[in-house]
């Protein structure tokens, strides 16, 4: 399926009018601070978001300083000209992510919310309400405490187009009438809901409503363009994760829709994805790719959700439709997220953390890891800037991180891409491996494309390859030697090569009498004893001689101080004497052994 936003008629108009009306040079940054009337010396400065929004013109940016903003925000008639285009997009965003919270005026008590009659005119169902607007982005806000929805995009005659909601945290909103996270009324073509955390709202996580009555004059023109729901984490909402009127054209990609339907009873649905109304050919406007729909109370889907195009979607059983992939480990949230309730252990609060469950002993990694689709392969890059989907909730430009060698696709499902801990650019490929025998998973760092197995020389910070020299690292490159990856570390330890400080030939040798209590070394390289550890340290590239000698001293002291009783215990002070003497001797005399060890284990990587 492909979607085409190109509208030659509007493009032609824009060519004429944009230069006059929306010159980039006229773009203004409007600053908002709830507690600093000077906005840190920046101008223009506003005390409320809605005041700044009211003044914003095409191409402007509203930058919001950290803080709690108790207000309702109406975004009305922005860029409401046929000539407006992407160049005039108005950006409303938090200066720092996760620092700006917008909440409902009043005490926000649930009792009061229940007492409010359900609004009939649909005009006051969102703490942030957008109507008659085009090309507006809301990014990085936390919206909570609304007695209706967090965000409402009005439809019909008041509908919008090109609205983006990016990287927001919407929780704890809603009413008993089913409003929750986001309401998208009819129309609203080109809406993109991407990389948002939408959780623990009272009603639906996202609701796409149908036309209220007869189609509006603009429905015929713009109604065919889809709404995009991409890479959102939609978890634990009271009603449905996503509720969609069957008349809508919607594309769901890489969403994690889990554990929704937490409210009592079943009126309005308690599913992962609910298709409202009649299906039939209308339902073909719904397409789903690479979504994880799991653990929703009354079922993962309801209605003919998969009547349209779909591929690589997962549910615990995989039986809801042909082509679904059974993924039983996602049935519980604990199989998907590491600790979704966050540090405070309470779900539905501001610290809820939907970081994916990584590799570890005794469990499979999250089925969301590397199970998303690259939006490029779905043609989404034709629709909007790839920076949109290369971001995740927390950071821009982080996707994809390829982690699972067994999974061909790179993007993680949901709003948070699991980061990779590999810092050596030569071995930067995080790899999750699953042991089929135990079902456990582990993570390692595999060679990156920078790694050249021929030269085996790769700068760990730049990835630059270079010529390799062996056996002379201490003279050729004493300050830039690197471990020879072909060297088998600790394979040729030889115990205490200078002789144990205890005389093995003497029948009164305490070593003979007291056995292993005072043994510092053997020839067996696997023995974890001071002399072998010391040999091993000397041939570990870039360990210093002092480091190795001090560790040797500590290892010998540990041997002397191990639990022992009886006659042999009375020799412990002697053992401590031997240790002190042996340490002094090795520190003074073993310089050549250290150099030989470093030359064996290190290599030079010399740039010509």
């Amino acid at each position: 399926m492909s979607f085409n936003f190109c509208r030659p008629r509007l493009v032609a108009l824009a060519t004429l009018s944009c230069l006059q009306m929306f010159s980039p040079a006229q773009a203004t940054v409007l600053h908002v601070s709830h507690d600093d009337p000077t906005c840190g010396g920046k101008s223009p400065c506003y005390a409320t978001i809605h005041a700044a929004v009211d003044d914003a013109q095409g191409g402007d940016s509203v930058q919001i300083e950290p803080g709690l903003y108790i207000e309702k925000i109406t975004i009305a008639s922005k860029n409401n000209s046929p000539a407006a285009g992407e160049e005039q997009r108005i950006l409303i965003e938090a200066v720092l992510p996760d620092t700006v919270t917008v909440s409902e005026p009043g005490d926000g008590a649930t009792v009061e919310a229940d007492a409010v009659p359900h609004p009939v005119d649909r005009e006051a169902r969102g703490l942030i309400m957008i109507h008659h607007s085009r090309f507006v982005t809301i990014r990085g806000l936390t919206i909570t405490g609304s007695r209706a929805a967090a965000v409402q995009l009005r439809g019909d005659h008041g509908q919008n187009s090109g609205i983006h909601l990016e990287r927001n945290r919407l929780f704890g909103n809603g009413s008993r009438f089913g409003e929750g996270g986001i309401i998208i009324e009819s129309g609203n073509p080109g809406t993109v809901i991407i990389n948002n955390l939408i959780y623990s709202n009272r009603g639906d996580g996202i609701r796409l409503e149908g036309p209220r009555a007869s189609p509006s004059p603009t429905d015929g023109e713009e109604g065919e363009q889809p709404v995009f729901l991409v890479q959102n984490t939609i978890n634990g909402n009271g009603w449905n994760g996503v509720s969609i009127d069957a008349s809508r054209s919607v594309m769901l990609v890489n969403n994690s829709i889990t554990a929704n339907g937490t409210a009592d009873t079943s009126a309005g649905g308690r599913f992962g994805v609910l298709l409202q109304g009649s299906g039939g050919s209308d339902a073909e406007g719904l397409s789903l790719y690479n979504n994880l729909i799991c653990g929703n109370r009354l079922g993962e889907t309801s209605g003919d959700v998969f009547a349209g195009q779909h591929a690589d979607n997962r549910t615990p059983l995989g039986t809801e439709s042909a082509g679904l992939i059974a993924t039983p480990e996602c049935a519980a949230s604990t199989g998907v997220y590491e600790s979704s309730a966050g540090v405070d252990g309470k779900p539905g609060t501001g610290d809820d953390d939907f970081k994916l469950l990584g590799a570890g002993a005794g469990h499979l990694p999250s089925p969301a890891i590397d199970r998303g689709a690259d939006p490029l392969t779905l043609g989404l890059d034709l629709q909007f800037d790839k920076a949109l989907y290369e971001a995740d909730y927390a950071s821009p430009g982080v996707r994809p991180v390829d982690k699972d060698i067994n999974r061909p696709l790179d993007y993680d499902v949901g709003a948070l891409e699991l980061s990779c801990e590999c810092t050596n650019i030569c071995f930067s490929q995080c790899r999750i491996r699953i042991d089929p025998a135990t079902g456990s998973s582990s993570e390692s760092c595999a060679a990156s494309p920078f790694w050249d197995p021929g030269s085996q020389c790769c700068d760990s910070s730049t990835g630059q390859t270079s010529e390799r020299h062996l056996g002379e690292a201490m003279t050729q490159c004493p300050n830039s030697r690197v471990q020879n990856p072909s060297f088998h570390l600790c394979d040729d330890t030889d115990g205490c090569s200078a002789g144990n400080p205890v005389n093995k030939q003497n029948p009164t040798d305490p070593l003979e009498v007291c056995g292993p209590h005072f043994r510092f070394g053997t020839l067996n390289p696997k023995d974890d004893l001071p002399c072998n550890n010391h040999d091993c340290c000397y041939e570990t590239c870039n360990r210093t001689k002092d480091e190795c000698d001090l560790a040797f001293n500590s290892d010998m002291l540990a041997v002397c101080n191990q639990p022992v009783s009886g006659f042999c215990a009375t020799l412990v002070p002697d053992c401590l004497e031997w240790t002190a003497t042996y340490f002094d001797g090795v520190a003074a005399a073993a310089g050549s052994s250290y150099t030989n060890g470093q030359n064996r284990s290190c290599q030079c990587c010399l740039t010509q």
């Binding site: 005389n503 639990p563 009783s565 215990a569 004497e577 050549s592």
Partner: protein, 262 residues
């Protein structure tokens, strides 16, 4: 024999009159784990006045400071070896000789004439220095088993060798006189008859640093990486009647000199 040993001997003669009787004493039980091999073992030190018995893996050692002897009994009691102060001195000389040989061997491969001379000087010494132990407080009010203890780092020659958690001796309803046996043994033999007891003696020698007469409830010996290697905890401390025969060896205990020169 020193005046101190003679005094201890007199005390023991009095004790000998009560050979067939049980006498009051203290039993210190510990449990250790080797964090690498995961091997666990239990040890006991039984104290009654100047008399000491240690037990480990079924084997027992009877330490008679007043006689300058240690009797080592095998697990099934079938054999007994008697170590005298002279045997101990011989083994120490042997160990010192081995240390000299090692230093001479190192001198032969010394990288510079200066290092070679330094090693030869070290080898020529008649005795080698025993580094001093010191304690440094790390934390207070920690919980180990059923005890609340203060944690100290123990350093030898500036190198951390262990962490020790200690409680006040009085809190265990013990006094220094209860520990006289291991203090005496340490004076006579140069060390107490178990590493746990050596820590106990060392702590009593450092009362001013610790701030009170202290007794260990856990000892964690660290290795070259700084990680705990041997962890020992106090598992029991009881007062009990001890039969006097616990401090008597089997008859015909073989002198060590005849065993180790075979």
């Amino acid at each position: 024999m020193t005046r101190r040993v003679r005094a201890i001997a007199l005390s023991a003669l009095v004790s000998a009159a009560l050979l067939n009787h049980a006498i009051g004493g203290v039993i210190i039980s510990t449990q250790s784990v080797d964090t690498v091999t995961r091997l666990k073992q239990t040890q006991r030190t039984i104290l009654s006045g100047p008399l000491v018995r240690t037990e480990e893996r079924g084997k027992a050692s009877i330490v008679r400071s007043e006689l300058g002897k240690i009797w080592e009994l095998s697990a099934n009691g079938s054999s007994c070896v008697e170590y005298s102060l002279a045997d101990l001195a011989a083994m120490r000389r042997s160990a010192a000789d081995g240390t000299r040989q090692m230093l001479e061997s190192l001198a032969g491969s010394a990288p510079t004439p200066q290092a070679q001379a330094q090693l030869q000087q070290m080898a020529a010494r008649s005795t080698f220095a025993l580094p001093k132990a010191s304690y440094r407080r790390l934390a207070s009010g920690e919980t180990v088993g059923k005890w609340t203890c203060d944690r100290f780092a123990k350093e030898i020659g500036g190198t951390k060798v262990s962490e020790v958690c200690v409680v006040r001796l009085a809190a265990l309803k013990m006094s220094r006189s209860d520990l006289a046996g291991i203090v005496n043994a340490s004076a006579v033999f140069g060390a107490a008859p178990s590493t746990w007891d050596q820590e106990t003696v060392s702590l009593l020698e450092n009362t001013q640093v610790i701030g009170y007469d202290a007794f260990p409830v856990s000892i964690s010996v660290v290795d070259g990486s700084g990680a705990p290697r041997f962890v020992t905890q106090l598992s029991g401390l009881t007062r009990s009647k001890i039969p006097m025969k616990a401090f008597q060896p089997a008859v015909n205990c073989t002198p060590a000199a005849t065993v180790i020169t075979k």
